[in-house]
Amino acid sequence: MQNQTQTEIPSTPSSIISDSNTDKTSSYTASQWQLMWWKFRKHRIAVWSATVLLVLYLAAVFCEFLAPYSLSFQDTSYNYAPPQRLHFTSESGFHLWPFVYGLKGQRNPETLQKSYQEDLTQKYPIRLLAKGQTYKFWGLFKMDRHLIGVDSGGTLFLLGTDSMGRDLLSRIIYGSRISLTIGLLGVSLSFFLGLSIGAISGYFGGWVDDLIQRMIEILRSFPQIPLWLALSAALPSSWSALQIYLGITIVLSIIGWTGLARQVRSKILSLREEDFATAALLVGASQTRIMWHHLLPSFMSHIIVSLTLAIPAMIIGETSLSFLGLGLRPPITSWGVLLKEAQNMRTIAFYPWLLSPAVFVILTVLVFNFMGDGLRDAADPYER
């Protein structure tokens, strides 16, 4: 009897696991992040959005090189030039490589409006790694190569120009550096505040918890935009561009952390009741160990998801503040600053291309949300 059961028990549980299916075995030893990645990969829109985001951020990183013109470029003789078309065909037939025609500006003698025609006699093929204005890459290396460009004499305003004759595409690319990073910076600040304050609140409980929760409620009961306005109006106008930039991120994250702190708190409260946390307590693990080894890793994925979803709110915040003239100000270039130029009806009616930064704002916010969606689905790979 004893013998029989002795042999029976060890052989019992393993029959389904011992199948040497390599694919399955790898999933058995896959960590949380691997499982999340596998699940995320199945969400096709999210993967596409992630790719688009990657491209956008790469553009922000390499903006000096990608932009056809440098930030300081302006040519008032080409102010309010409409977007130039890329051509593949001309009277001489089909060209494998796109080119642009030269731009000819004329002032209408009656309205004094400037209008531009393509000068069909001048063809400027698009050059890769074209020599253009010199710039300092990342403020360090002196370079004069741009990803695309045309030979000197021609112009390449793919999204048109503004009132001072500055290339809008170049400015949007430069602006992405500010607009996209202000979200990241603001979110990291919120993350720090939210995580620490939320953890304190959930961990200590009692009157500390009550105090923090009431404080959050008060902060959240202020209407967001007026609060932002008030705070940013308080930033001294004597500040440098960089200081303003940092000031605005702080303003944005002052509200951003509250939602996160609440999430962290409720997660800690519920996870503390989980049996695995009790089990750790019962084997003699210290409170700090339970916090760092059991509680924090359990909701980190959720926190990352909510952070992803918070970034677009920050981007919108920056854009709206700058649009209202209370955020970043020229000479800093951000999408919001660019949009400020398209503030009145007249500009929009005559120069609609000035709205193109808005397209980038919308695109960015959308792809962030799609990606956040996919991440949210993937965040809990252990769902039963």
């Binding site: 009897m1 029976e8 052989s11 019992t12 549980p13 029959s15 389904i16 199948d19 199945k42």
Partner: protein, 336 residues
């Protein structure tokens, strides 16, 4: 010859997942006699609940009824082939909740927290009949009385959270029975309840069955509950019925090795204390796996190489008058 209320023929319900196809129900044949209780027993994942949902055409994507026929033989009316209708068909919707009703395991999630219990019971009555509100209300209160809810007039206006688990389960039974169904499908109706409450609910279901002359399809993992309730039992394993018999036959004289092991692995009173329990070695195989031969052979004690692990799975054969077994070994012994 008994009258048959519902017959299931070669039902196959599969779930098409990224990881592969789960053959949750894989060729089930079953007949539910009129006015009796048929019980499907099995461990989790054996396909017993999916069978029930298939009857009501409630299989959501990625699941699909791949083949098979489910015929509802209505006592005083024409037959309906349920499998010919889609989930949202008018015909099915008219039958679901009125002629075939279902009660679920979880008493809290089957009731909406924002409507009063009385209104929820009344809803299906108004949906399936053309009774007026006052008339319907009287019927609901009458039904609440019958299922043993005290003070039905006051309880009519209460919300689910104001009731105990036992009362909620009674309310759910009232909701299922309000249209006088011919077939009641009960999926683990007492699993979430305490034993003393479970005994009350089982008693109630038996009483109401006699009163309303309905058939019950009872789905459970608990062989004790089956012994209390069923006339006929079908034991399921990996989407197939491995043994079907009259209840006392099955309990006293089980034939399939799986049924035998299942019965012996339950601890009982009066057993020699601390004796080893019989175990079924291993655990239920991965649902994506396709096992050749008898699906139970990797865990079977009587496994015979060359007989059990080859070819198609065994088909139930008549072992005794009222007992069908799907086992190669029993079949061989019988024919010899």
């Amino acid at each position: 010859m008994k009258n048959i209320l519902l017959s299931i023929q070669n039902l196959q319900t599969h779930f098409f997942l990224d990881e592969g196809v789960v053959r949750a129900v894989n060729g089930v044949n079953l007949e539910i006699p009129l006015g009796e209780t048929m019980s499907i027993v099995g461990e989790s994942g054996c396909g017993k609940s999916v069978t029930a949902f298939s009857i009501l055409q409630l299989i959501a994507s990625p699941g699909r009824i791949v083949s098979g026929e489910i015929v509802f033989h209505r006592p005083n009316s024409d037959n309906v082939v349920l499998t010919n209708h889609k989930e949202r068909d008018k015909r099915i919707r008219a039958i679901r909740g009125s002629e075939i009703a279902m009660i679920f395991q979880e008493p809290m999630s089957s009731l909406s927290p924002v409507h009063t219990v009385g209104n929820q019971i009344m809803e299906s009555l108004i949906l399936h009949t053309n009774l007026g509100k006052t008339e319907a209300r009287l019927q609901v209160i009458d039904m609440m009385q019958r299922v043993g809810i005290p003070n039905p007039v006051q309880r009519f206006n209460q919300y689910p959270h104001q009731m105990s688990g036992g009362l909620r389960q009674r309310a759910i039974i009232a909701m299922a029975l309000i249209c006088r169904p011919k077939l009641l499908i009960a999926d683990e109706p007492t699993t979430a309840l305490d034993v003393t409450i479970q005994a009350q609910i089982l008693q109630l279901m038996r009483d109401l069955q006699t009163e309303f002359e309905m058939s019950i399809l009872l789905i459970t993992h608990d062989l004790g509950v089956v012994a209390e309730m069923a006339n006929q039992v079908a034991v399921m394993y990996m989407g197939k019925i491995v043994e079907q018999a009259e209840i006392n036959e099955l309990l006293t004289n089980p034939q399939h090795p799986y049924t035998q092991a299942l019965l012996e692995s339950v601890p009982r009173r009066g057993q020699q204390p601390k004796a080893k329990l019989k175990v079924i070695s291993g655990s239920v195989p991965n649902p994506f796996e396709q096992i050749t031969g008898c699906p139970f052979h990797p865990r079977c004690e009587e496994f015979s190489d060359g007989l059990c692990n080859q070819g198609d799975p065994p088909v139930p054969f008549q072992f005794r008058d009222n007992q069908h077994v799907a086992c190669f070994i029993r079949e061989k012994d019988k024919t010899q």
